[in-house]
Symmetry: C2
């Protein structure tokens, strides 16, 4: 199991910048309140927008595993490239699983060595980046007829994904006519919406974005599982890890429940100690994208202008991704000497899949201490040294420890943060499942793109952003 | 030229969260103070740690271009892979230039289509990631004898780079004996230090890390230019762009000097309006790594515990990278409804190298507005819509506009931020060129790794981080 070490968030380690350990005492007010939140979460799990908690458990689990594996097995061997078209919660989990569990060189490896097709998650509408990927697949990558497109959109109306899909569909149709349906797997609403209509008309195989599972809580649904399965990831182990972490995170005692403790620490340090920036800094390159996934979960769930009573709140914390040891040479100067406004979450892997020995024999005195050691030992020492340096400058921090970074423990990590987010929503008394502030930008985009019914937004945008002289040209 | 549009940082756009435009009036106190800072920077340029300002100008410019091209031309055609061994300022600029100016699929492209060798910048000591890259080059990538290693370390004593280098040197020696020197290009101190000694002993060709150029200000020196040149980037255009931006950023009038204005806005909004988080959000996938380069520059230069008078300061701002439109689906909810503690810097590209039309004919009413438009138009509309949404929720923001994202304008961007950082150092009255807080972690790492003379650090670390019961296991 993962462990959570939070000693460095407490006042006996980081003085006034940490929490008083006494508030955590069993039987105290905080422990009692957290136990009540745990009870509340037990009562709401599997209802409304908390149906993501069902994903690792039967019957949903088996239904999804079966459906995903069925389509994946029909696709296996037929494709050199898999292009995921999705954005936000329909992309970040896919990227995170792939980067965590496949080698950084995956796309470079030859057929037969690589586990599954090359994977490209195209989560932007940048025309250059999009063209690069399509152009590669069309020419050097084996051709579009060897490319599978996995379009992910619950409604089908997300502008970015829809635009990508429209381009891809046209190119596939030009090449393959009606047979192009063999090159598309859609993950969308099982019953309604624009993408569902299109799928039925065109005969695309589909997998569900389940009801009651929001985008940022969907990685353990087919949204994340299909591309992972195609690229050789053990999706069953992911779900098993998630299920076991769910059990641990259902314990009533906050001091034995890592999700409750994580939420409590981060919310308390944020609200009472001004630590409103929450860094997640894996000491493992392949876990860096997990920090990107966390970034959406933590930002979009907790950044809210109103609380549940309708009061003005402006809650939330700014999640920041960093990478150890790399960012010691970029961010640690600030983290130690800048404003003390952060909690730094470090991630440590106890045993790497492989280690690389540092040879003897260079014969340079200043580097002798490295001889006979290994990169893994050096990385671990750097993590510990940096943790010490944070404590020394009174910067609260915690460590999430992975015994190994495999699918089982990645599943645990996902479950841990999702449940911690649910706790944080209760602690902040906000709706952790909506995202009202993204609507205005969408409507304004519609207006600027000339969508019927949104004309007024174009006028408002043009009026608000009318040209001024506050511009410096060369 | 790049332009800087800062209208949305002012109170007439974002109310009390913006600066009073009156403070910017020509002849006022602020304008006068900024003119004095400009004069000060003119007097210190090219001295001490401000020798980076000489890099785009002769004689340094021609000397570097000649030396870099000379070694690059000797290497051209001999290598399938180029592996940069460096960290922090010896890696971030290389990554940023490459990602900005070569396609995301560069490493996948076949010989002859790709401009130069595949590029891997290995800026961590993660054993799995390191092994993936070396293993790929040894087997599928054409073999180590077709792999050039570019080791970058001023002193040669940076633990991460030294460890990587020791491993690589041993593997090359096993394969090629003394001839392995042909596979290494070192960028290091021109006169002294551990790496310099090694280079002389082994006969490696070298390029200089010039005196008075700190790591985070070194991208326009051979540190950044060599790998860029190898991979087909127009390094002369980079320097030309930087030189022209330097001239613009030497103008005494703050309202005509984008570096002075950028520093003024960010420092003032940070210090007087609580906007201590400084987001940089390119609306262009290939510029995302430029935000990572900026992240080191802004964090490490300005995050200081003491000011120049020795007073406790805890200055600095937290630079955050984000990507448009992608992060609209991840961070914008927080940026609009969370604590109003950010300035959001948007980057816009007016003309993309290529655009991708969105075809007509899908026949779905809800998506009709996208038909006949293009990805570039959609991305521009999203940027403008999001800018509007930020203003609507009183979030200060500015836009840096690229006419096109080519080497010339990337050079301008680098120069703009480097000079802005120098101004910010003056405004904060701190030393923008040191990084004292990273020393403790380095020393503690030496202690934990058993380096002679650092034993006491191991004891201190072990004592500080002694095990507690504040740990939750599964």
């Amino acid at each position: 199991m993962l462990s959570l070490d939070y000693a460095n968030c407490l006042a006996d380690r980081v003085g006034a910048h940490g929490l008083d350990p006494a508030i955590l005492a069993p039987g105290g007010d905080v422990a009692t309140a957290m136990a009540a939140h745990t009870q509340r979460l037990a009562s709401t799990r599997g209802t409304n927008w908390e149906r993501w908690r069902d994903l690792p458990f039967d019957p949903v689990r088996t239904a999804h595993l079966t459906a995903v594996r069925d389509i994946a097995s029909r696709c296996r061997g037929r494709f050199d490239n898999l292009i995921v078209l999705g954005i936000g919660g329909s992309a970040l989990g896919n990227i995170a699983l792939h980067n965590a569990l496949n080698p950084a060189t995956h796309n470079l490896l030859p057929d037969g060595v690589r586990t599954g097709p090359r994977l490209f998650v195209v989560d932007n509408v940048d025309p250059v980046a999009f063209d690069n990927v399509i152009e590669y697949c069309e020419s050097a990558g084996g051709g579009l007829h060897r490319t599978l497109f996995n379009v992910i959109s619950k409604s089908g109306e997300t502008a970015e994904t829809a635009a990508q899909f429209m381009i891809v569909r046209e190119r596939l149709r030009a090449l393959l006519g009606a047979g192009h349906a063999e090159q598309v797997v859609a993950i969308t609403d099982p019953a309604r919406g624009t993408m569902r209509q299109i799928c039925e008309r065109e005969g695309y195989p589909t997998l569900p974005v389940p009801d009651g599972v929001g985008g940022r809580f969907s990685v353990l649904s087919p949204v994340g599982l299909f591309s992972a399965c195609m690229c050789g990831i053990d999706i069953e182990a992911l779900l098993t890890g998630a299920a076991e972490m769910d059990a641990v995170c259902s314990r009533p005692q906050v001091e034995r429940n890592p999700a409750a403790m994580l939420a409590l620490l981060l919310v308390e340090l944020g609200q009472t100690k001004g630590k409103t920036n929450h860094v997640l800094m894996p000491y493992a390159s392949n876990l860096y994208s997990m920090a990107d996934w966390y970034r959406q979960l933590w930002a979009e769930s907790l950044g809210k202008a109103k609380d549940l009573a309708g009061n003005t709140a402006y809650t939330g914390f700014t999640p920041i991704k960093a990478l150890g040891a790399t960012d010691q040479h970029s961010q640690v100067q600030l983290y130690r000497e800048g404003p003390n406004d952060k909690v730094i979450g470090m991630i440590e892997v106890e045993k790497f899949d492989t280690d690389v020995p540092i040879p003897t024999g260079l014969g340079v005195e200043a580097l002798r201490y490295l001889e006979g050691r290994s990169l893994g030992e050096l990385l671990s020492a750097e993590k510990r040294a940096t943790e010490y340096a944070f404590v020394e400058s009174m910067r609260p921090n915690y460590t999430i420890r992975f015994p190994v970074a495999d699918a089982y423990h990645i599943g645990q990590f996902i479950s841990l943060w999702q449940i911690a987010t649910a706790y944080a929503g209760l602690l902040l008394n906000i709706d952790a499942y909506d995202q009202p502030a993204v609507e205005l930008g969408k409507q304004a985009t519609f207006g600027l793109m000339g969508r019927a019914g949104y004309e007024k937004f174009k006028n408002t945008v043009d009026q608000t952003l009318r040209p001024t002289e506050r511009i410096i040209n060369g």
